[in-house]
Symmetry: C2
Subunit: 236 residues, 2 copies
């Protein structure tokens, strides 16, 4: 959501440009970057702005700086892979099936567990939010409304776990996956096909059945993964 409009600040643009280069592979790990002054002039910004951007990239683990030595791209194992920006840059740079599979695998791990936790610990207000989201899905007339209610549903489930770490993880993964989804978004005639599975998740959470909730969520995700795969197959 922060990246929808793109950053208007200069240092934001620089962060994005350099970040995409690094994550995209134009700048290989271990490779030294040009001196600050050279980079600044090459990107047509002041050294001040460039440095603010570099500090952000360093905070994301992408680069490291040392006096006299200069700056180097760090190895990928040091990157903050779960940072929203890093993830977005990877999505932009490597729209490979391989990476999508990794994202989907994360969802398959997190969401069933989250549903189970929600079934165990949800309070009535949180259940009501899940119910409201489900109802909104049921009443959705077009794809946009349905998609929006869908996110609301999953977010409501995540909130019901009372573990904001889970919620944060989900939202990051979900945002990354959304970039692929939007790429191939089209009005699908039968977008409501997964409604009963959503109901199963809701019902299990309502009845406080962790295992049932996890199973239902697994079914839900595997279904959505299948549609994702067919869409990807359609693309070429």
């Amino acid at each position: 959501m922060a990246r929808t409009t793109g950053p208007r600040n200069l240092h934001g643009q620089v962060v994005q440009e350099l970040g995409q280069m690094i994550v995209g592979g134009s700048l290989a790990p271990g490779e030294p970057l040009p001196r600050e002054e050279a980079l600044a002039t090459r990107m047509a910004v002041s050294r001040t702005v460039l440095r603010e951007a570099l500090k952000v990239l360093a905070a994301k683990g992408l680069i490291e700086t040392r006096q006299k030595t200069g700056m180097r791209v760090r190895e990928t194992r040091f990157w903050n892979q779960l940072d929203a920006d890093v993830l977005a840059w990877r999505c932009a740079a490597m729209p490979t099936d391989d990476f999508v599979d990794k994202l989907v695998e994360m969802r398959e791990i997190v969401e069933p567990a989250a549903a189970a936790a929600a079934a165990r610990r949800r309070d009535d207000a949180q259940l009501a939010e899940v119910a409201a989201a489900y109802q909104a899905m049921d009443e959705a007339m077009d794809l946009d409304a349905w998609a929006e209610a869908d996110v609301r549903f999953h977010e409501a489930v995540l909130r019901a776990t009372n573990n904001e770490l889970l919620g944060s993880l989900f939202s990051v993964i979900q945002t990354a996956l959304a970039t692929y989804f939007l790429m191939s978004a089209r009005t699908t005639a039968n977008f409501r096909y997964s409604l009963p599975q959503h109901h199963a998740v809701y019902d299990a959470i309502r009845r406080r059945r962790p295992n049932a909730a996890a199973d239902a969520m697994r079914g839900l995700i595997s279904a959505s993964r299948d549609t994702l795969k067919t869409r990807r197959a359609e693309k070429p």
Copy 2:
């Protein structure tokens, strides 16, 4: 590992100081921060350094800045909860059982799934690394060596999943939990008690049995959680 020595850069210190204040609650969400110049003089740094720190905090989702309006602390749901620094600051600020439970829950979700994935997809070299780490645990004579081999073991399992997102998530969680562990670290006479459970994990991965690997890992974690709880109980 990046935070072991503490940052000796000025902006690093400022990031840490302000970050701890925000995450610790001294600066409530929605609350406006002083003007840059005022903050800079109050912290005895130049505006340049302060701004570099502020950009980093903004990248972590902790604050937002707008011209004329100034800076405000963002609501907690916008924070990068999975950022290593944010997590560390939370650990420092709220050493409550509640938060430890959330971290442990993340491990309980991620690691069994990772073990299963490793059992499915590991290659021989990755299995060898797991085996080597296990052997190092077996040969460990003191607590330090054992602890180091323990991390190596879990990291080897995570690497064997071929999903670096999983690895990144684990390492962040593990680092956060380690702060609590170190706090109450003492030489425990029977630190080797979980060796057979580690062997069970290794064996299941070797035999490519995902379900068995997940189960073994669950046992392993629940055991370590119990010791964590007893240690916490001992503290007061």
